[in-house]
């Protein structure tokens, strides 16, 4: 039988896929990447289908088609440059290959730059997951929160209440530091009392009697740096500072007077009445201590008022009360998809930086041909994901 005649004629079994192991590895990795991104993109499509009234108005979502389109073009260019780098490697022209990779890295930087600009817009308009009001009540609640945030009211109010409680209980008494802080907070609170428009807007928003347009209009007025309330606040602070200065001048005089009164009592004492003398001397020391404490309290309040007058509360960063239905789901899916894509871009840039380092140090050789092909395959996949993200996020 021929097959029994000689085993040596039987060709050796060829196992596996007829491609290099490295290439098989990157394709297996890309297979997992397909599942990773399809899960995001597919879920996004399903969420959109199940959310009637999904925000598509670019004036609301601040989606910029021009930025998205430019980024698509940039990524296509980078795909060409990386494939031409591989082509140059096959021609053993390593300098040319390095130059194409440098161009690819530069294009990746442009992509990330445009993405950063887009993300900046999202942060500036507070289009972030969990930050978006989806009905009128939420919008007004958010307005109240942000107004208080601009004045810094909530944490200061909490601190002031705590100190007042300690003062009311009296055991243990306020420490020197706490007394100074309470005086500063009281002074600040009095000055902030002049912000009538802010208080009115906040009260109306809390009540819910306000329409969103009216709230936005009032907020715009409040945002003006020359709002009359800010002037009133400065006047109030100046008046308080004047009073404090007067008190500061009076405190040592009062103390001096009290000391003199006690001294007169001491002088009247018999030389033998040591116990009473010691008691009155201690009283004098106490008068000095109290005077110092009072001065510290007044100076604390004065510094707080000066700082408030120099940096009055600004409402410039309070966001207009807008309602974006499904806005939070929109923002979540937007940041999830574009964020993970951007992360892949950054990883690709790291790979290119490594290749450029090899190329510029003259170490790039034929042994790196597969490395560049694999990096190229990864980069084309990144481009591929964007090819689908662009229409789904920016156009549809």
């Amino acid at each position: 039988m021929s097959h029994a005649a000689g085993h040596s004629n039987v060709p050796a079994l060829k196992m596996g896929v007829p491609i290099p192991n490295g290439k098989l590895g990157i394709w297996l990795f890309l297979g997992t990447e397909i599942m990773f991104f399809t899960a995001f993109i597919g879920t996004y499509i399903v969420l959109r289908l199940g959310s009637p009234g999904w925000p598509i108005d670019t004036a609301v979502t601040h989606i910029n088609i021009l930025a998205g389109g430019t980024n698509t073009f940039v990524l296509i260019c980078s795909s060409v440059s990386v494939v031409l780098a591989h082509e140059a490697m096959l021609q053993r022209n390593y300098k040319k290959a390095t130059n194409w990779i440098i161009l690819t890295l530069a294009l990746a930087c442009v992509f990330l730059g445009i993405k950063t600009y887009e993300y900046y817009g999202k942060f500036a308009h507070d289009i972030l997951p969990g930050h978006i009001s989806e009905d009128r009540r939420q919008a007004l609640d958010k307005l109240v929160r942000e107004l208080d945030g601009a004045v810094g009211l909530a944490p200061l109010e909490a601190e002031r209440n705590m100190l007042r409680n300690i003062q009311a209980v009296g055991k243990p008494p306020l420490t020197q530091t706490q007394a100074v802080r309470l005086a500063a907070l009281d002074a600040r609170n009095t000055a902030l009392g002049t912000l009538a428009a802010y208080r009115q807007l906040k009260a109306d928003a809390k009540e819910g009697t306000l329409s969103l347009e009216a709230a936005e209009e009032k907020l715009q007025a409040l945002k003006a740096p020359d709002h009359p309330d800010i002037d009133k606040l400065k006047v109030s602070a100046a008046k308080q500072i004047e009073e404090i200065d007067a008190q500061l001048a009076q405190v040592p005089k009062d103390a001096e007077q009290k000391r003199a009164d006690v001294q007169a009592q001491i002088d009247k004492l018999d030389s033998g009445n040591k116990f009473e003398r010691r008691k009155l001397t201690a009283e004098q020391t106490d008068i000095d201590r109290q005077s110092t404490r009072e001065k510290a309290r007044l100076i604390g309040a004065k510094i707080e008022l000066e700082s408030l007058a120099a940096h009055p509360p600004s409402f410039a960063r309070v966001h207009e009360p807008h309602v974006i239905k499904w806005g939070n789901t929109f923002a979540s899916t937007y940041f999830l998809m574009t964020g993970f894509h951007a992360l892949h871009v950054v990883i690709g840039m790291g790979m290119f930086a490594g290749i450029i380092w090899l190329g510029t140090s003259g170490r790039l050789g034929q042994q790196h041909c597969l490395v560049i092909e694999n990096c190229g395959l990864y980069w084309h996949f990144v481009d591929l994901v964007w090819i689908f993200l662009f229409p789904l996020i920016y156009i549809v």
Binding site: G31, A39, S79, H380, F381, P391
Partner: protein, 135 residues
Amino acid sequence: MSDPAAHAPAADSAPHDEHPHVNYWLVFLALCILTAASVVADMVRGKMGIMLLVLIVLTVATFKAMFVMMYFMHLKFEGKWKYVLLAPTMILALAIPAALMPDIGSHYYDVQVPQTKAAPAHDGEAGHEAPKPKH
């Protein structure tokens, strides 16, 4: 549009290690034209229904993806292993969307969430909830 494949050898006739010759600039041109087509479709969206727009841009995206995969990723010139390796991932990738679709994507019941509730009488601001559209 001219076919960039015209410059490439037939898929099965080329062994994997033999380098295929593709005119990458033609592929690049095709991708640019297709991207521009998507943007133009967005610009004239008012003249067509949203469904037609979705159909156009997703078809364009699929063509772009095919160009990238076939010529840049050289899948046109690879062996049959590409189907064995990629087909299962494509199918498995649809598992999550398919699982979510019946409940999240389409409901046979009325969904009681704030976003779908009609605004109270006082809040009659449906037209004012957001700035007016640009288009």
